[in-house]
């Protein structure tokens, strides 16, 4: 562990770890994209910095930018912890990521279109048929359903990590209902307010057009190219953990935020109930999981969905974004086959790497997982949000024994990955700056064309040494700057 070259009281506790550091190279020198930031920080006292951090926190609370934590009775509305120090990426670094993401999403989308149609990739034995059909997010009902422009995934939030040597790799694809983009946008607003001069001098690529890009993506998917389509966003309601985001996005797009009870289906057409009567809906940006969309087609106990919605969808009278059944392609076991998909459909080598993955489904690999529980991260394939996982090096013997039983009982449901050496970025904590692990979640929009706003949400594991960045597990976030250069 080395000290940094930066002579600033803010950084007096900063130790460069054995992980890739976003701001400093191995010798403790500031990396070029961070130079101006470092200069500015060396002029700030820790007290002044703390004052600005407090101002930012208050701003979040005042605006009600909060999320709901499940499983607590009190104080369930929390602000998403925000770290004032931005993460900075050079434009060349970003362009590499952007190309890789476009390639990957194109392949994943072709994969979905294929398995819900002829299943060529399965016939050619590039992806095991059993693995696809045994996935709980595979929707039989979608066989033969045509989706506008063949677009299954229109909103994606891939999780990228930077490991040894600073290369980006994809950890998860998140093809169902990825969240967090509102934090990316509000982080930026608050950053501009708290450090206006620094921001202006830095030449950061803007992200404010996300709402407009999302709207034109959704409009481009209107059924039968209906002119001037009506787009709505459906939310599970005010008690959902991401409700703030749903409202935020509806407002930034200028569309209606609806709940299941605001919609009604008649003759396979979908309507909103308004004070002027019923009004037809063309495109639904849905923030509800497949299971809850339509009590007639999926879970009958769902109170969140709309009865008859699936039939209207199957008739091509309404577009759902994302399509139903996309979860099969972000199953953590199927994830392991994405490089094969890219080769199969595009004839290209993957630009972004996968993280090495052992499948419980394959007996040999399953044995490897069981033998190395103390080294690996073991995850349930269909879970998200950091739930249902074991981090081997940080686990106790009894936790490992418990997980071994689970894996043996249902090997298809588990995968193992080496414990990643996530990169670190400087974070302000307890009055000084210290390194913390971060990942990166860029947001990809896919309609008539593919759009990615530069950057994304950098999520931070705020506990020292922790590798879990999920907001539900005590993670925070940072603004992410991609420079013009």
């Amino acid at each position: 562990m080395a000290k940094t070259s930066l002579d600033s009281p803010l950084f007096e506790r900063y130790q460069i770890q054995q992980f890739f550091d976003e701001m400093f190279d191995e010798g403790g020198q500031v990396r070029p994209p961070y130079l101006a930031l470092a200069q500015r920080l060396s002029l700030l006292s820790p007290e002044e910095f703390a004052r600005r951090q407090a101002a930012a926190d208050l701003s979040f609370l005042r605006q009600g930018i909060t999320f709901t934590v499940y499983g607590h009775d009190d104080a369930t509305e929390k602000i998403f912890p925000y770290d004032l120090l931005p993460r900075v990426l050079s434009n060349s670094e970003w362009q590499e990521v952007e190309r890789g993401l476009k390639q990957r999403i194109t392949a994943l989308n072709l994969f979905l279109g294929d398995i819900y149609d002829k299943g060529k990739i399965l016939n050619d034995k590039q992806v095991p048929r059993e693995l696809v059909y045994s996935c709980k997010h595979f929707r039989r009902e979608m066989r033969g359903v045509k989706v506008p422009r063949g677009v299954y995934v229109s909103v994606v939030g891939s999780d990228l990590v930077r490991t040894d040597g600073g290369r980006f790799a994809v950890l998860e694809d998140n093809l169902r209902v990825p969240s967090g983009v509102s934090y990316m946008l509000t982080n930026r607003q608050i950053m501009k307010r708290v450090f206006p001069r620094l921001f202006r001098d830095y030449n950061v690529r803007p992200i404010d057009h996300y709402g407009q890009a999302l709207l034109s993506t959704l409009r481009s998917l209107a059924p039968n190219d209906r002119p001037d389509p009506t787009v709505v966003l459906i939310t599970p309601g005010v008690y959902n953990s991401a409700y703030f985001e749903h409202a935020f996005l509806a407002r930034s797009m200028g569309i209606q935020l609806v709940e299941g009870r605001d919609l009604v289906v008649h003759d396979n057409l979908v309507y909103t109930k308004t004070t002027s009567g019923l009004r037809r809906v063309d495109v639904i940006y849905r923030r509800i999981d497949d299971d809850f969309l339509d009590p007639l087609a999926f879970r009958p106990d769902s109170m969140l969905g709309v009865a008859g919605l699936f039939n209207a969808y199957r008739h091509g009278n309404v577009t759902l974004a994302n399509a139903i059944g996309t979860g099969v392609a972000d199953d953590k076991a199927i994830y392991a086959y994405v490089p094969q998909m890219i080769k199969y459909y595009l004839g290209e080598e993957p630009l972004l790497e996968n993280v090495e993955t052992f499948l419980g489904w394959e007996p040999k690999q399953c044995q490897y997982i069981l033998d190395n529980l103390d080294q690996l991260v073991v995850k349930a394939v269909g879970e998200s949000g950091g739930y249902g996982m074991l981090i081997g090096p940080h686990s106790t013997a009894s936790q490992r024994a418990e997980f071994a039983e689970k894996v043996k009982a249902n090997p298809r449901n588990y995968i193992g990955q080496p414990t990643l050496k996530l990169s670190c970025a400087p974070c302000f904590t307890e009055g000084r700056v210290e390194p913390r692990h971060v990942d990166l979640r860029p947001y990809i929009l896919n309609g008539r064309e593919m759009t990615i706003v530069p950057g994304g949400l950098s999520r931070v594991a705020l506990q020292r040494g922790s590798l879990v960045v999920n907001s539900s597990q005590g993670g925070g976030s940072k603004d992410t700057w991609v420079l013009h250069e």
Binding site: L61, R62, Q63, G64, G237, V238, Y243, A247, F248, A250, R251, Q256, L257, V258, E259, R261, D262, V264, H266, Y271, T272, K273, T274, T275, S276, G277, L278
Partner: protein, 314 residues
């Protein structure tokens, strides 16, 4: 506009108006109570609670502290602001960010520990902050929100709630005052309290001077065309917003609700106070309350609960 959104805007506004009214009523009462005898003070407090339509839980009369700070008492200021914020949260993309921030600030204020401590020492300070907060919200609403359908729902909610309260205040206080000797200092204080509960004292003085009689006070609170906390003014604003809503939604044929408000408005416009008091004024106050609750029910039938069958037949 979504029916659910309209309903939330309407209730957000009603709850905020209610919070402000409760703050003012309690503020006036605590001030007046210092000079009333114990029995008169108790009677007056019961009247105030009656005007606010407070339910007694197991016969227990909630204290002014409960009615301000206790989130478990449904009529408390804290509950009303909480409910208003909850409604605002469900439609926050429909109102301006400035509006939500103001309502959120007010909510954080009333639920904070320092506010509770301050209330124990200086309740009128807290009441002042609540009233200011609601006024600020009204100002922010008028200057940051499009004066379209959503704004009309907010206006309808505010004035319907206000009309209901004014009728309630007159109903509860006047039923005693009407039989008491005018000119008695106690009686004078009660009338003064009634005026102040509607922020009407100064406005009244400009018209009638400091002389207070049952008839003149009632006339001012019922029939003044220009004073914003009179029944006439509130019903008139309600009628205007309902008319605008029927136009903008194209529901003119269904919106018979205006007729109810229109009839009441005509009565307020063309009846003199003497005529009202010759008949039974108490019965009249009861009728106003019933009318307001009827208008509320009809809003649900016409605007808030849409079904396919109704849309086709309508």
């Amino acid at each position: 506009m979504l029916s659910r959104v309209a309903e939330s805007l309407y209730w957000m506004s009603r709850y905020l108006e209610r919070a402000e009214n409760t703050a003012r009523l309690l503020d006036v009462h605590l001030n007046l109570n210092m000079e009333l005898t114990a029995a008169a003070g108790k009677r007056r407090y019961e009247d105030v609670l009656g005007a606010m339509q407070v339910n007694f839980f197991e016969g227990q009369m909630p204290s002014p502290t409960d009615l301000t700070l206790d989130p478990l008492v449904p009529e408390s200021i804290s509950s009303c602001i909480g409910a208003a914020r909850e409604n605002a949260r469900q439609i926050r993309e429909q109102i301006s960010s400035e509006m939500f921030e103001q309502i959120n600030k007010l909510y954080l204020y009333i639920r904070s520990r320092p506010t509770q401590d301050r209330f124990a020492i200086e309740p009128n300070f807290v009441f002042g902050r609540v009233k200011d907060g609601v006024h600020l919200f009204a100002g922010i609403t008028d200057s940051t929100m499009t004066h379209g359908q959503g704004w009309q729902w907010i206006r309808a909610g505010r004035y319907l709630e206000r009309a209901n309260l004014i009728a309630g205040l007159l109903l509860n206080h006047m039923r005693h005052l009407i039989d008491e000797a005018e000119g008695d200092p106690q009686h004078y204080s009660e009338l003064l309290g009634l005026l102040k509960s509607c922020t009407a004292w100064e406005a009244y003085c400009k018209v009638h001077g400091a002389e207070l009689t049952n008839l003149q006070v009632a006339e001012f609170l019922l029939l003044s065309r220009e004073f914003p906390h009179s029944l006439h003014f509130s019903v008139n604003e309600t009628a205007k917003s309902l008319e605008a809503l029927a136009q903008v939604t194209g529901m003119t044929a269904q919106a018979h609700l205006e007729s109810k408000v229109g009839r009441l408005l005509a009565q307020l416009r063309y009846t003199s106070i003497n005529e009202l008091f010759e008949q039974s004024p108490i019965q009249f106050f009861h009728k106003v309350r019933a009318d307001m609750s009827d208008v509320n029910d009809r809003l649900y039938r016409v605007y808030f609960s849409q079904t396919f069958a109704r849309a086709v037949s309508g």
